[in-house]
């Protein structure tokens, strides 16, 4: 028997996943309505595959939903960790989203350092929720710059990939 208690084995969550897949199928089907069929010689036009995908996802979603209702997904792997740690996840998400919001204004190096610091803080809290001190975070800022700056220089100077800088100097 499968052990109880893991979030991924919860029938409610599994049903939600199935419903989500089915909804995605419906959304794709709604989109497929707006695509003209102008098939030409091919017999099938640009709206053919969208319909196939939409209906397939709808079918899969419904099947997943009923599997979840009737005893859950089969052959699930055993997962590590019991309860999700949302606090850490919030820090990590903040890091990623602020990076997306700020990268063009404050430049790659600073933006990525910020992402690094916030993500590392989240991961550190995940390991020990009581370690709320800021000393490791200050050190992370240093480490973050030490990773982001050489990456920035390597990619922009040697590989010629344009990444946003804070200044026009090409070094920051």
């Amino acid at each position: 028997m499968r052990p109880r208690g893991h979030a991924s084995h919860s029938p409610v969550l599994q049903s939600l996943v199935g419903a989500g897949v089915a909804l995605l199928g419906l959304a794709l089907a709604a989109g497929a309505f707006t695509i003209p069929s102008n098939a030409g010689y091919a017999g099938v036009g640009p709206n053919f595959l969208p319909w196939v995908v939409a209906l397939a996802l709808l079918t899969c979603g419904v099947r997943l939903f009923f599997k979840a209702r009737r005893g859950g997904f089969r052959n699930m792997e055993e997962h590590t960790g019991e309860h999700p740690f949302w606090g850490g996840f919030a820090w990590l998400s903040a890091g990623l989203l602020l990076n997306a919001a700020l990268i063009t204004t404050i430049g790659f190096i600073l933006s990525c350092t910020l992402c690094f610091v916030l993500a590392a803080r989240g991961l550190r809290l995940a390991q020990d929720p009581l370690a709320k001190g800021w000393a490791p975070t200050v050190r992370d800022a240093g480490v973050g710059v030490l990773i982001a700056a050489p990456v920035f220089w390597a990619f922009t100077k040697f590989l010629g990939i344009s990444l946003p800088g804070l200044t026009q100097t090409g070094w920051l």
């Binding site: 091919a42 969208p50 995908v53 690094f116």
Partner: protein, 486 residues
């Protein structure tokens, strides 16, 4: 012989100092990402895809191939040294003394490269004669095996495949230029970048999973004990390597994908052939042929997986799917014509397989201590650092901050998929191969003058169709016939 000349030319191209350096950096980087948890070869290649805009095609393909093979070696090092939670400790610790048995990987890969360099041009010559209906059916075969056969659940595999196909739909249709599913966002006109999906599904989702669920997980490390092999070990390993190569190589050549089946087969064969004391070691103290055989099979499959990619243009794994994306960035479409249009590139790539595998042998055995140190990098900094590289990959491709938001969204998708055991390979294969399959299907039906009967009128296409149906139906029939245990 013509093949020899071409191969020699390939060695001449791959052997220039610059290309050797790319191969070396690729192998070293590949080993490092293989050793580190959180990034695999697919992610590493994906994050570095932006370099295709600057670095010349041959050099970057050699580099990517190096990462691909390097990561396989690195990954096996980690699996010996770390007791990943959930895996039975005996199995892993039993492998401890058998590190050397894994060096059979190099032999298997070299032998497969040799077979492959003779076999690939023949396959390409054959493949030239295939038309759109056959190609479409081959791609359907790849879809079926990747999604329905390799995972634990057919429904979940198919769901992942169709999510990938849906992602591939976004943007302009290849044949008519019709815009689909862009929701008015101009960034989506070109479609969703493969880098974004790969990096999001693997790297970002991995970091999210780590912060949510793995904070308290403590890994235990195994100590390396003996690293030399006795004469008896050699006697037991060499035949196992040969058998493993023979089992693995054909599996890699067909567009079906997956290393699970050949490795499992090889393990079963070795167990069957073992006698007496050797047999008693299986699943107990760790039988050396039980490591050597599957390892060789695994590597032979992985090496040979380049063959369907190059000759047919059909990827069957995450990494080969991304390599196909890299080819597309250069405007090169892998397939049978590749051997005539980009012959120099193909042969340089094949030659680099030999060079790379020799390099890996040199890098791995003496330097294992160095790689082990990589495991000491603290998790928070490791995952946070991976996110920096993920940003480079995602942003560097199109210089758009929109892509970074999309990266986050795909990370969330990857997290859900990972948590509920949806396989990720079908997403990438579906996304990359989907548009190609759609074009082949529509061309095929055009040839059939608007009739889908074209797929059953041509013998090869019909044969492939029957095979696909068998793959989908047969396991169910077998299951229905065997009485259930409940």
């Amino acid at each position: 012989m013509e093949v020899w000349n071409l191969l020699l030319q390939g060695f001449a191209t791959a052997g220039t100092p610059v290309n050797l350096l790319w191969a070396f950096v690729g192998c070293a980087l590949g080993t490092a990402v293989g050793v580190l948890p959180g990034i695999g070869p697919a992610t590493a290649v994906a994050m570095l895809l932006p370099i295709t805009s600057q670095v010349e095609a041959t050099a970057s393909m050699i580099f990517f191939a190096g990462i691909y093979y390097g990561a396989m070696y690195g990954g096996s090092t980690t699996s010996i040294l770390l007791n990943t939670p959930g895996e039975t400790a005996t199995m892993v610790t039993a492998m401890e003394g058998n590190k050397m048995a894994k060096s059979g990987r190099a032999g298997a890969a070299l032998a497969t490269s040799a077979i492959g360099s003779l076999f690939a041009p023949m396959l390409a010559e054959f493949a030239v004669r295939l038309g759109p209906p056959e190609y479409f059916m081959l791609m359907v075969l790849a879809f079926t095996t990747v999604s329905a056969v390799l995972g634990q659940s057919t429904v979940r595999g198919l769901t992942a495949l169709f999510i990938g196909l849906a992602m591939g739909l976004v943007g302009m249709d290849q044949i008519t230029g019709q815009v689909r599913y862009t929701a008015g966002v101009p960034e989506l006109l070109d479609g969703v970048e493969i880098v974004l999906v790969a990096v999001g599904l693997f790297a970002v989702a991995e970091a999210m999973h780590a912060v949510l669920f793995e904070g308290k997980v403590v890994e235990t490390e195994n100590r390396m004990s003996r690293v030399t092999m006795t004469l008896r070990d050699w006697k037991r390993s060499v035949p196992a390597w040969l058998r493993g190569t023979a089992i693995g190589a054909p599996f890699g050549c067909i567009p079906a994908g997956g290393t699970e089946i050949p490795t499992f087969l090889s393990y079963a064969v070795e167990k069957k052939l073992a006698k007496g004391d050797d047999l008693a070691e299986f699943g107990n103290a760790g039988a050396i042929e039980g490591v050597a055989g599957p390892e060789a099979a695994n590597n032979a499959t992985v090496t040979a997986a380049m063959i369907p990619l190059l000759t047919l243009g059909i990827p069957v794994s995450n990494t080969t799917a991304i390599l196909l994306g890299a080819f597309q960035n250069y405007g090169i479409q892998p397939g049978p014509q590749l051997f005539t249009t980009s012959s120099a590139l193909v042969w340089a790539l094949i030659a680099s397989l030999y060079i790379g595998n020799v390099m890996l042998l040199v890098l791995n055995l003496p330097m294992i201590g160095l790689w082990v140190k990589l495991l000491k990098v603290p998790k928070p900094q490791l995952y946070a650092g991976i996110l920096i590289f993920a940003t480079v990959g995602a942003y560097g491709m199109r210089q758009s901050a929109f892509d970074l938001y999309l990266l986050y969204a795909i990370g969330l998708l990857g997290l859900v998929m990972r948590r509920f055991n949806f396989p990720t390979a079908p997403v990438l294969v579906g996304m990359i191969l989907g548009p190609l399959a759609e074009a082949q299907m529509r061309n095929a039906i055009s040839i059939g003058e608007g009739s889908a009967l074209i797929f059953v009128q041509r013998p090869i296409s019909l044969g492939l169709l029957v095979l696909v149906v068998l793959i989908l139906v047969l396991p169910r029939l077998l299951k229905a016939r065997t009485p259930t245990l409940h």
